[in-house]
Amino acid sequence: MGTKKTIKMRQMSDNQKGIIRKVSATGNMGRRIREMGLVPDTPIQIRGRAPLKDPVAVKIRDYVLTLRNNEASNILVEVDEPE
């Protein structure tokens, strides 16, 4: 078992899995992110990125959500540290 570490969702690589630990966005963006189900303790997996590497597509709660990199910066995700 590798150790755990918390990184920004933006820094995750394609197909990497993790669990959301904190959503630091507030206001309109925070509301939008949360109502789509990006709340703490939710497992996610990066599905891929658009041709220009932005936005990013995330598998969450049985569906696929897209968000821009600057939005993904507000979400902290716990991932397995690679060996």
């Binding site: 992110i33 891929g48 821009r68």
Partner: protein, 794 residues
């Protein structure tokens, strides 16, 4: 007497709400707008078990906050109109997120029935929902269904009647815990609200308290009606905000949302059974290819190109039928009505004007059909996803792409439904910027103008020219957006937090409804505005009429030409009088026609006529068709005279037509505009056509046709206009290209301006006219002047 009640249909986008609505109400639906806003309101009726049920389709939303137009509309409808029941369509394959809205309905307390849709899709992904358990945990009836194949609709209606039929269902808000601190404040606020006599009892007090803690602007403002209580509540909210910020480093709103999802997780843990080895998700597989970073964009371009090809291929024949129909109609009316103003108004004014627009209905329809397939299959969201980064650079949003494509992004759409498609954009600034640039796209009405000018001056590169024009329209639209977003509409970019819905096979019914709704927008435009403007335009190009003296001088001139022709020694022997000349003209025309139609039997007949050698000689002189040896020199001389005579007559006719046009109101305007348009190379006739084009771009071709004295020009088959322009002095590829670009950019058509006003304000509608004219003028001027410098305009 049937008993009546009202239900509201709600649900997340892509949960199948429209399918359920259509399955419930069939064709019995009406589309209106919610008062004061541009959100569409669909209302349908269904009779079930002796009840007449009115079904109101609420906008698809993920939540019930006060931060998007759709959500406010939905909420206001629920609270103010108090429907007897809400049916929440929940996607079983995506239960967590769909229940987020359902939980908010429970908080509001409105009578609720959950329609658990797409249970088949869920099962195929290994998700089994225990609907009885779900019903128990949420304390609402749950009806499993598959709306696409009509399964469960009857059961849903049974339940709706059972719950709402007696009409005295009480609101019963669910009490959910959001953590100790928030719960305590909720109780405090609730008590203050309950004690106040000023507040509207329509809103449940606990829900209202919750909205205060969430900082919901609409509800907080309402609370200011009771200043004392409002003040107390405000103090509590501030206190809890500080407290939560200090202890949890978050806003109360965030904590509340987290608890809602926590509540949902508790429910789904009990109600969902997952098969461990869930089958492969087809959507994921497709996305591996279609949104692949390298081949995704290539496939996207290929699909867009295929749609373009499909539209033109499929619509070719029906468009020809439509045109034949209007041509026939015009012909019938011409032969029934006596010649005069009435005939001219109906044939040249109304049928040509309205027919020109309606003739394109098949093309528009196939384009919308193809777009509906992309939308309903879920591909449009992928296009937005792939292009968001590019569009964002220009200050637009991934979702703007939809409006741009419908307006003519792949050539041949219509800006009217395009403007309406911009509604999917949440941010007002991004929406207005999109509205302002969609008129730059190559809509179906601009294509005939391009067709005429390309055929005349760039006939060797038809396809390439059209492709270049498509690229140019995108380029202009995007750069214009960039300019607008960095000057008059500055503001932050909005989030692109969006769902990529699973790919779905579109249903024919859904496609037809989508296609028809948009096509109808276009048809309505022809039936109303264009009808009126065609009549006005006809009047402006007809009145005031030419003075009798002037007309007499042209007639005198014609008589003189005829006389001198008949009197010339070469002709005298062959044509005795004017009667013989008329016969010759007729013979000449019939021969031309017979040759065009390759009707050899008719040609044989004509060859027997005594005057035929003259025709033969004239044809020989003009085209060199016959062998010379069989013609006498006398015949050739007479024929040469005849050719001269004909061209003199045409010149006179043309000068008369020009004098007529210059005298009319339209002619006056066109000439006045020459001061401004001279640097672009446009003369008064082009100006008339462009002014007419403000009504509808289709008018440009027919007005050019009239201005160039061709009588009626069919916008699609304007081969004669192409030929005419090619010969006209002053016309050259540079002028043609300048006019094409000017037409692409100058003013949105009248109906689009009205639509822009409806979707924004008069201010922006007016701005769009001014802005587009300036852009068009500057670009056209640069093209013209640079072209002249390069020596292209010679």
């Amino acid at each position: 007497m049937k008993k009546k009640f009202t239900i509201a249909l709600s649900g997340n986008p892509n949960a199948g709400k429209t399918t359920v609505f259509n399955a419930m109400t069939g064709a019995r639906q009406e589309i209106a707008n919610y008062p004061g806003v541009t959100v569409e309101k669909k209302v349908g009726k269904v009779a079930h078990k002796g009840y007449e049920i009115e079904v109101v389709d609420l906008p698809g939303t993920y939540s019930l906050t006060a931060y998007s137009l759709e959500e406010i509309v939905a909420r206001n409808f629920l609270v103010n109109e108090r429907p007897d029941l809400v049916v929440d369509i929940v996607d079983a394959s995506n239960l967590d997120r769909n229940l987020y809205l359902a939980v908010q309905f429970r908080e509001l307390g409105i009578p609720l029935v959950i329609a658990l849709n797409m249970v088949d899709v869920a099962e195929s992904r290994g998700i089994i929902v225990d609907h009885k358990q779900l019903s128990e945990l949420l304390d609402v009836p749950v009806i499993p269904m598959v709306a696409r194949s009509n399964k469960g609709i009857r059961e849903l209606l049974d339940k709706v009647v059972e719950v709402a039929g007696d009409g005295d269902e009480q609101w019963s808000p669910a009490v959910i815990s959001y953590g100790m601190d928030i719960d305590r404040s909720l109780d405090e606020i609730e008590e203050i609200i309950r004690e106040s006599t000023i507040f509207d009892p329509k809103y449940p007090s606990r829900w209202r308290a919750l909205k205060c803690l969430e900082g919901d602007k609409q509800i907080v403002d309402l609370l200011k009606r009771d200043p004392e209580a409002g003040e107390q509540i405000d103090t509590i909210c501030r206190r809890i905000f500080r407290h939560i910020m200090n202890t949890l480093e978050d806003e109360p709103e965030g904590i509340i949302a987290d608890h809602r999802y926590g509540f949902i997780a508790g429910i789904t843990k009990k109600a969902i059974r997952r098969k461990i080895e869930s089958r492969i998700n087809v959507s994921d597989k497709i996305d591996k290819v279609l949104t692949n970073r390298v081949i995704g964009p290539v496939i996207m371009l290929a699909i867009l190109y295929a749609i373009y090809e499909f539209t033109f291929w499929a619509s070719e024949v029906p468009v020809r039928w439509c045109e034949a129909f209007f041509e026939g109609l015009g012909w019938v009316i011409s032969s029934v009505l006596p010649e005069g103003y009435m005939q001219s108004l109906i044939v040249s004014g109304i049928i040509d004007g309205v027919g020109g627009v309606l003739g394109f209905v098949p093309l528009i329809m196939f384009m919308f059909f193809a777009i509906a397939i992309m939308e309903d299959a879920g591909y449009m969201a992928r296009v937005a996803y792939m292009l968001d980064r590019v569009l964002r650079w220009f200050g637009l949003h991934g979702n703007s792409v939809m409006a741009l494509i419908i307006s003519g992004g792949i050539s041949g759409g219509c800006a009217v439904p395009g403007v309406m498609a911009a509604r999917t954009l949440r941010d007002p600034k991004e929406r207005i910027a999109t509205l302002l640039v969609v008129p730059f796209m190559n809509c179906g009405a601009k294509l005939p103008i391009y067709a005429v000018l390309i055929a005349a001056f760039f006939s060797a590169h038809k396809a390439r020219m059209l492709f270049i024009l498509t690229i140019l329209s995108w380029a202009f639209a995007l750069f214009a957006a960039k300019i607008i977003r960095s000057t008059v509409l500055t503001g932050p970019k909005t989030p692109f937090v969006m769902e990529l819905p699973p790919y779905r096979m579109p249903t024919l019914r859904g496609l037809l409804i989508h296609t028809w709704e948009r096509t109808w927008q276009y048809v309505k435009k022809a039936g109303t505005v264009i009808l009126g403007i065609s009549i006005i335009l006809w009047g402006m190009m007809t009145f005031p009429e030419i003075s009798t003296e002037k007309q007499r001088s042209f007639e005198d001139n014609r008589r003189k030409i005829t006389k001198s022709f008949l009197a010339s020694p070469d002709v005298r022997g062959m044509l005795k009088d004017e009667k013989a000349l008329t016969d010759l003209n007729e013979l000449f025309d019939s021969y031309d026609k017979a040759m065009d139609e390759k009707d050899m039997a008719a040609v044989k007949d004509l060859e027997k006529k005594p005057l035929f050698p003259l025709v033969k000689a004239a044809v020989f002189l003009e085209k060199g068709d016959f062998a010379k040896n069989k013609l006498t020199s006398a015949q050739l001389n007479a024929a040469a005279r005849y050719i001269n005579f004909k061209s003199d007559m045409i010149d006179t006719d043309m000068s008369e037509q020009q004098a007529r046009l210059k005298g009319t109101m339209a002619g006056w305007i066109g000439q006045k505009l020459e001061t401004v348009t001279r640097p672009l190379g446009f003369d008064y006739r082009t100006n008339i056509a462009l002014v007419g084009g403000f009504a509808a771009k289709e008018v440009v071709v027919s007005a050019l046709g009239t201005a160039y004295s061709l009588g009626d020009v069919d916008p699609d088959d304007a081969g004669s206009l192409s030929k005419r322009l090619k010969k006209e002095p002053g016309w050259n590829p540079l002028l043609a290209f300048t006019l094409i670009i000017f037409t692409m950019l100058y003013v949105p058509c009248f109906v689009t301006v009205i639509m822009i006003r409806r979707e924004s304000s008069w201010k922006w509608a007016g701005f769009s006219i001014g802005f587009n004219i300036i852009v068009a003028y500057v670009v056209a001027l640069v093209i013209r002047q640079v072209g002249m410098l390069l020596g292209l305009g010679l």
